[in-house]
Amino acid sequence: MLTPEEQREIEEETAHFPVRRAACIDALRVVQKHRGWVSDDAVRDIAEFLGTSSDDIDSIATFYNLIFRKPVGRHVIMICDSVSCWVMGYDKMRDHLKARLGVEVGQTTSDGRFTLLPVVCLGACDRAPTMIVDGQLHANLDPQKIDEILERYK
């Protein structure tokens, strides 16, 4: 079941489009904002709310890599693996994160605190290497700076 709050927010989004179904991306974002990820049940509920089928919603939900169809940790780290960051030492940053968190890219720490994911160019190539944590950009990374940043997310 979508919560009344989710329903209200999605309803607002539908006002921007001539057909309800067009609000599906926003609906997915609303649900993810509240729950961290989008479950099968949520896909079904969104489909019903927008008057379409689960298959329809799922084809959109699975298309976007920033819509999570599996549970994630409390904080999501997305490290840039595109060209500039790669030139500037992305792999060292990645390995440092993996070692610190004890996970592979794509995994969540056993305490549920962090999920580590790759992401494409964040548009901050001039300050490579970069990563995003919970939507906040962190640039000019080095291992020490990464450690400090992680401390801020409990």
């Binding site: 057909v19 099968d40 896909v43 689960s54 298959d55 329809d56 799922d58 699975t62 298309f63 890599n65």
Partner: protein, 900 residues
């Protein structure tokens, strides 16, 4: 016509087609994946690349996708240019990167478009040496197998399933090299046309699960052209056999009828032929039990009955004209009765009369091209399924027309869909219950049959005030009739569809009046009446007497022997009536292929042939006479019903019996007896037809094992069976030339092993087969004759207090007798039920699933209640042809009570 130059050679092409279609239409080999002749182009796969040149001086040219390129006059094209050949080889190499290359264990192997295109593109060695992406497959129900690793991401499946067929429970997921085509969750595919994915998917992702149970490669199948036996539309099919069992059905292209697609009942209903309940030898009753007897003894007994007294024959709408005719000849025209209920007989007679006066019955192609449609009282998806797929395209015509005006070619599939968005042209569906076309309907109308008829008559009256007025029409209905009339009036090519669903003569008459009013206004109206069985119309054209009179004859003692032709009478009349008929006769002879309630009552049972073992002619609801041919000789003593009857006539030394040597003789006799059936002679070439002195082989040139497949019985290769009835042979030798369409045993040509080779057999892509499509139309009313109106407006429906009008509700899976015997179809068939609207259920105090007692004249039964919110008050529905009350003719008033 335009002229284009391909690799310096000039070709005349249709300027409305795209460059790929133009090239394929001229037999040029240009590989493609995403384009489909019925679904148009999206330019997704990039496989059909060619070069076009600005002018003669342009030596470099530019690479374009042929399927996305319109024809221009004198355009210069190259398929063979090395650069573009290289480009195509690169594309297919990319598409094939993660393909498992598991052809030996893939059901598509040997008839795979991907194999064909790979060979054609010259991609012979794989260079990719990394891990391939792999997927988990889904359970999709009893009809289709899913093997996603083989996918090349052409998107044809979703374009067919979701866009063309209107399916909701399927789609593409994820992106990049991980794109996945399936359902959100495992489960049975809901769409009634899902089986077409077998042919639409160019790879082995979707394959026929019923074929898998007895798998045989295409090259090992003995095949013949046949006609679907599971409704009256007469879709053309190809059936394949190996080792005496029927292995599968695929589509057989006919531009006027089924085009490229079948419904799932037609594709998967074939397994009744392989049923354990097949009757394999003659049987006679001894000490109350049916026991096998030799053929000669069976014939002796049969002819002795003929000598003993009066004989009556009960014909069948699922038997060929020839079989019905032979029975009619044996018993005499005055003793030949229709094997359908009297109500169905009346309705069918009415429909035939209406069609004969006009408008003429429309082909499915005509209906597809209509730009507005009224479906009056017909549950199209469940009675004439393929027509529902057609109507889904009908609603797109408005936008296709608009696109054309905006200079967007009709084949530009996604451009046209973008233009239309979710909008579609006018379609009005009037039915007592929700239908599977409601999602594309502009408006629906839920009412009892009489009120549906009134709506129709009201529309006709608005269109032409010379047609009768409907008194006392409620204002909302009148307003709706206005809207419907307006939409039909504004359409350039309106369609009107009705049929047997409601069982109401008034509904069919109302539809006819609407069609006639439109015709009178000068519109080219596409008018179609849906019927239930393969030869419903053909039976009506032979003018049998009503079944009820057979009972009277038996009561009078005028029926010492009753001969029942391929018919379960317990589906046609209440058990009591059938028992009375059978009880009054001294001898009961039944000819049929499957054991059933009627065969159990026989004194003499003769094994006849199901469609795959039979030859004959049937008349579709379009009035199209089509011949079907046996795929393999019937085993043992099984023979065509008409042969059994001809044998008896022979023993009785009746002249017919002595002169009927093969099917052609029967065809000739039918044509001579019934002027209306005269043209059935032209439905297919005669048995004496030869190409270069040879018959047409049913087996492909790669048919394997013929010298050894019977080696367990005898080491020398047996002589192939003769086929006296057709120009087809049971061998691989024969004319390597293209036969006339009616004799086309399968589509296959050099380099094109898959069913997509049909491209090579058409006059132009998606046009008629060369030499003309199969079948002849029999009902063409005289041009210029304007039939009058039928003027029979019924009174408005009034619900009764403790009774309901029980209507039939047809089910694509389960309502049709033969296909219901195919295990995969049986699995999808609903369980018996009775349906009521929500208010009526509440007034009964019954909840969904509650046990209720249904009491009808002719029988009663306890059934679970199904609540269908759309059903009008006072109307209940029973599933047609299945459940304990299947012999009772609906609609009928009856009582429904909550079981205490």
């Amino acid at each position: 016509m335009s002229k284009i130059f391909v690799d310096k050679k000039a070709y005349e092409v249709n300027p409305k087609q795209n460059l790929l279609e133009a090239c394929l239409g001229h037999g040029l080999d240009l590989p493609y994946f995403c384009w489909h002749p019925a679904m148009g182009s999206v330019g997704a796969c990039r496989q059909c690349a060619v070069k076009v040149y600005r002018d003669e001086n342009d030596t470099r040219g530019r690479i374009v996708m042929a399927c996305m390129t319109p024809i221009t006059e004198n355009m210069l094209v190259s398929i063979q240019d090395p650069e573009v050949k290289d480009f195509r080889a690169g594309i297919i190499e990319g598409l094939m990167m993660s393909h498992p290359h598991d052809c030996p264990v893939c059901d598509e192997g040997g008839e795979c478009h991907l194999q064909d295109m790979t060979v054609m593109s010259g991609h012979n060695y794989r260079r990719y040496e990394f891990r391939k992406r792999t997927f988990r497959n889904q359970y999709l129900g009893p009809l289709l197998n899913h093997e996603m690793n083989r996918c090349i991401q052409c998107y044809r499946c979703t374009r067919f399933y979701n866009e063309y067929a209107g399916g909701k429970d399927f789609g593409p997921q994820v992106l990049r090299n991980l794109v996945y085509f399936g359902r959100a969750e495992d489960g049975v595919l809901e769409n009634e046309f899902s089986g077409n994915l077998v042919e639409v998917c160019p790879t082995g992702v979707f394959t026929d699960k019923t074929l898998k149970q007895h798998y045989t490669r295409k090259w090992d199948l003995q095949m013949a052209p046949t006609v679907c036996a599971h409704c009256a539309l007469g879709c053309n099919t190809t059936a394949g056999e190996r080792y005496g069992t029927l292995r599968r059905i695929v589509n057989r292209y006919n531009s006027q009828v089924n085009g490229y697609f079948l419904c799932d009942r037609g594709r998967f209903g074939y397994e009744h032929v392989n049923s354990a309940r097949r009757i394999r030898s003659a049987r006679a009753r001894r000490d109350g039990q049916l026991a096998d007897i030799p053929k000669a003894e069976a014939l002796d007994r049969f002819s002795s009955f003929a000598a003993a007294g009066k004989m009556i024959g009960i014909g069948s709408p699922r038997s060929s004209l020839e079989a019905n005719f032979a029975l009619r000849a044996l018993v005499g025209p005055e003793n030949f009765y229709a094997g359908i209920s009297d109500a169905a007989h009346r309705l069918l007679g009415e429909m035939l009369a209406i069609l004969r006066q006009g408008p003429a019955p429309a082909s499915l192609l005509q209906i597809e091209h209509a730009d507005a449609a009224l479906v009056l009282g017909e549950d199209v998806t469940n009675v004439a399924p393929r027509m529902a797929l057609t109507l889904r395209q009908t609603v797109r015509q408005v936008w296709l027309d608009k696109a054309e005006k905006m200079r967007i070619p009709r084949w530009q599939d996604h451009a046209v869909r973008e233009l239309a968005q979710k909008d579609h042209g006018p379609l009005f569906v009037a039915s007592p219950y929700a239908t599977r076309l409601d999602d594309v309907a502009t408006e629906t109308h839920r009412a009892a049959p009489d009120d549906i008829a009134r709506l129709g008559f009201a529309v006709a009256h608005i269109l032409d005030s010379a047609s009768p007025e409907v008194p006392g029409l409620p204002e909302p209905v009148r307003a709706q009739a206005e809207r419907i009339a307006k939409a039909l009036q504004e359409a350039a090519r309106p369609a009107v569809v009705s049929g047997v669903s409601t069982g109401s003569v008034a509904v069919v008459r109302a539809a006819a009046d609407v069609a006639r009013a439109l015709a009178k206004a000068g519109k080219p109206v596409a008018f179609a009446l849906a019927m239930e069985e393969m030869n419903s119309l053909g039976l009506a054209m032979m003018e049998p007497k009503p079944l009820g009179e057979a009972l009277e004859a038996a009561r009078r003692g005028d029926a010492q022997t009753v001969v029942v032709l391929e018919n379960d009478l317990y589906r046609r009349a209440p058990a009591e009536t059938v028992d009375a008929l059978i009880g009054a006769a001294a001898h009961v002879v039944v000819l049929d292929s499957l054991e059933g309630r009627t065969t159990e009552k026989a004194e003499l049972l003769l094994p006849s042939t199901p469609f795959a073992e039979a030859d004959g002619t049937v008349v579709s609801s379009e009035g199209r006479a089509q011949r079907f041919f046996r795929v393999y000789p019937p085993p043992g003593d099984i023979q065509d019903a008409w042969r059994w009857l001809a044998d008896v006539l022979g023993l009785l030394t009746r002249p017919e019996g002595l002169s009927w040597k093969n099917l052609d003789d029967l065809v000739e006799a039918v044509a001579r007896t019934f002027p209306a059936l005269e043209r059935i002679r032209d439905a297919a070439p005669r048995a004496s037809f030869r190409i270069a002195g040879a018959k047409i082989p049913r087996q492909p040139h790669r048919y394997s094992g013929r010298t050894s497949m019977l080696a367990n019985i005898a080491v020398s290769e047996p002589k192939p069976p003769e086929d006296p009835d057709s120009a087809l042979s049971f061998t691989m030798e024969g004319a390597p030339v293209e036969p006339p369409a009616a004799l086309q045993p399968f589509f296959w040509t050099g380099g094109w092993n898959s069913i997509q080779s049909v491209n090579k057999f058409q006059e132009e892509i998606a046009g008629p087969l060369r030499g003309g499509d199969a079948g002849v139309r029999l009902i063409e009313p005289a041009a210029g004759s304007a039939p009058g109106y039928l003027n029979t407006v019924p009174a408005a429906f009034t619900p009764r207090s403790a009774e309901w009008l029980v209507v039939a509700r047809h089910h694509i899976f389960g309502s049709e007798e033969l296909s219901a015997n195919a295990p995969a179809i049986a699995e999808l068939s609903p369980k018996p039920y009775v349906a009521l609207g929500a208010e009526d259920a509440a007034s009964l105090g019954a909840a969904e699933g509650a046990a209720v007692e249904v009491k009808l004249e002719g029988g009663s039964a306890r059934l679970p209640l199904r609540i269908e919110s759309g059903l009008p008050r006072g109307v209940a529905a029973l599933p047609a042809g299945l459940g304990p009350l299947d012999g009772i003719t609906l609609p009928i008033w009856g009582r429904i009570e909550l079981t205490r």
